[in-house]
Symmetry: C2
Subunit: 448 residues, 2 copies
């Protein structure tokens, strides 16, 4: 009899198991594949490893203005993949160690759900007081003719490539599509992105998304286009004007979205909708002892959202205080070249929700460190959005170097409900790109 | 008749002029050299430009594990210096533009102080209601035999080098000394640092400083040593055991400290001590209409401290509210390879002040992004210090990549008086090195 059975060991599941184990609970963690789930094995981590390799390649080629001359700069995809594998393996052992040190039992195999208190793996039935579902999501492959051909890959398979394709068409301009577009473009593949919507990266401020497209040099974008068919060497689509078009493609990446892994949940009596398992703001399902966290509940498909949901759920089950999951200060990042990150609302979201806001955008090239490292012709933006009346910070948007490592501070500002005036009193280190956040706040309000 | 005369156009002076100008005041800014002061012309900015060049050189040489092979990687100091010059020139024009757009009048020349309301430049006497002294500091050259020889440079002259020396002895292991040690070591100079104290980087946590020395590969350190004499080709010193020693040096950098520029203040009737112009916590001197900000008051010799002091002083003179200068959340950063940054107190400071604290250190190699970009043998640390009882965050210390761009968030945490529990509820982006700050908070308190 376990206090808690967790199904799925991604950043939702393993964190839930760890936190519950740290509280002294008897925890079983069931994983059918590798510990770490998509994030560690086929998502966040391997893509960041590859992007770092590609950026290293690019910087080695472009050092001349800074005084660094190189010759015969060669990219080895095999070596980059080997480094990526080592990174993934190390992190996987890290999670294994974390489970052991928190006395979490792990079992490998497919979970079969018997009822809300019983889960079978192989021939063994496990009983648990509570069940946390953290089964994640899988790439969605739309039923387009030709989409099952061998050269049409999802993010899972493309991470196992032995050779870079000469040309790649990315179907879907979300985060996954854009990161792979940036990676392959940096290593010399001709890349085209086809997106059904009128802009890429839907969570991003429109002005930033436009600049992102411009800065992804060497990537062609076709927006407002509907893919009709994939053939042996081309992708056929209808463009924004209704014209039939075709692009050559030796490889196709299908990155139109992900679907929650809810297969096998039938016996649990759960409410499930199109987005996943329905949960309340405490992450509890309609079945009192079952909780659902991470991609499978469809609330926020980000690794760190899953980890935070794990903490909220475990706190609500075993902890000393009841928590609500908050979604207003969850950052996101795109790790291509350039990087981008954001936290909080965009102006469009504010308008949609009827929230009156003020916003100011500053150019990164006004910043000393950015200039020193990128020069006055490089592009980058920082935007801060505040409530029109209270001046509370509601959104911070970044496009440029260090974005992914600066954005956590924005989460802190929004969580702490700081106002523009408060941020103006924070001392930022000079010179740093982060100073632009303060500059944007002064642009919002010049007074002292 | 000006509302305000500002003397010195560094990050203290130009920000004071800008903010007062933005409030509609009639402002005169006097500068004897180039706009931007030491920071822009001979400090923060040029060093960061050069360090970026050196890091680019290093990364180009060390890309093989990530899949990037290069040949004949050559560093051109001349090209790096030219890029640095362009950066400085661009920023200088930026400040010029800022002054114009805020209707600040600027005059070039040495300020001669007649009395608290009158300053003469050349033949012209200017009258002002208020005076802000922002004259900065200068490198201190101790009266050591040989310290005036031509190959003994300060940070001013070393930024104009045409050729890298074969060997360099850095006298003084503070931030300036360590940044230059890191730079020259990366570009192939044999570097030795001689420090009088028992550890380098006095503001840094002792454990971090030790790791920093270890990670500055190729730099030799001699701690607790007193330099006795500089000769044509060597530096003679007494080591920690009292033994006479000698190190070969084709060039010597003197970076033992800086002295406030208080020359010419005699006619103002100011209280001046060894550290500089004495000010209260509102940055006002003993003469009611004179304020002193930045290095010249000796309170905190950092560019961003000077800028913050400018805002505080201008607010106290012209603004709508009275402000006190707070020093407890001012970050610092060292931009060498590796980077380091900190904000708030160290354990030693806490002990000295009798503040009961808890602290936890986490290794960067436990982090996904760090592993992906540096591997499991690389070193890096994150330490969080909180008050033992209230659990308020009092200090954050970082050593490793992105430190300088992550640290602003720590300033926000301390300014907002967040506690460990609050930081645990902040969602950090995954994967990012910044997550380690949250990990350290969980190490301080495992409960949910």
């Amino acid at each position: 009899m376990y206090d808690l059975i967790v199904v799925g060991s991604g950043p939702g599941g393993y964190v839930a198991a760890e936190r519950a184990g740290a509280l002294g609970k008897k925890v079983l963690l069931i994983e059918k594949g590798n510990l770490g789930g998509v994030c560690t094995n086929r998502g966040c981590i391997p893509t960041k490893s590859l992007l770092n390799s590609a950026k290293t390649y690019k910087h080695a080629q472009e050092g001349a203005p800074f005084g660094v001359k190189t010759e015969n700069v060669v990219f080895s995809l095999a070596d980059a993949m080997a480094w990526k594998e080592e990174t993934v393996t190390t992190l996987r052992s890290g999670i294994e160690f974390l489970m052991k040190s928190n006395k979490v039992e792990t079992v490998t195999g497919e979970a079969q759900f018997i009822d809300p208190h019983h889960v079978k793996v192989g021939d063994t039935v496990y009983e648990g007081s509570y069940l946390i579902l953290a089964t994640g999501s899988s790439p969605f492959v739309p039923p387009i003719p030709g989409s099952k051909m061998e050269h049409v890959l999802t993010s899972d398979e493309i991470l196992e490539l032995k050779e870079a394709p000469s040309s790649l068409v990315v179907i879907g301009g979300g985060v996954i599509g854009i990161e792979f577009a940036s990676f392959f473009s940096m290593i010399g593949t001709k890349v085209t992105v086809i997106e059904m919507m009128s802009e890429i990266l839907p969570m991003m401020d429109a002005e930033f998304a436009k600049l992102m497209r411009r800065e992804l040099k060497g990537v062609d974008f076709h927006l407002g286009c509907k893919v009709e068919e994939v053939t042996k060497d081309a992708v056929l689509y209808t463009d924004a004007k209704g014209q039939k078009q075709s692009i050559e493609a030796s490889m196709v990446l299908m990155s139109v979205g992900r679907r929650p892994n809810t297969q096998g949940f039938e016996s649990l009596g759960l409410d499930i909708d199109r987005k996943g398992v329905v949960v309340n703001d405490r992450l509890q399902t309609n079945v009192a002892n079952i909780w659902a966290i991470g991609d499978v509940n469809g609330k926020s498909l980000l690794a760190h959202s899953a980890s935070r949901m794990a903490e909220v759920a475990v706190s609500n089950i075993f902890g000393s205080k009841q928590m609500h999951m908050r979604y207003n200060a969850i950052p996101w990042a795109v790790y291509g070249n350039p990087e981008a990150a954001g936290c909080g609302i965009t102006e469009k979201e504010a308008a949609d929700k009827g929230i009156p806001v003020l916003s100011q955008t500053v150019q990164m090239r006004a910043n000393g460190r950015f200039l020193a490292e990128h020069g006055k012709r490089a592009a980058g933006l920082v935007k801060v959005i505040c409530h029109k009346d209270s001046k509370a910070i509601l959104g911070v948007h970044l496009l440029g170097p260090y974005s992914s490592e600066m954005i956590w501070g924005a989460s802190a500002l929004i969580e702490a409900e700081l106002r523009v005036q408060d941020v103006k009193e924070i001392v930022f280190p000079h010179p740093s790109v982060s100073e632009l956040i303060k500059d944007a706040c002064f642009a919002l309000d010049h007074t002292l």
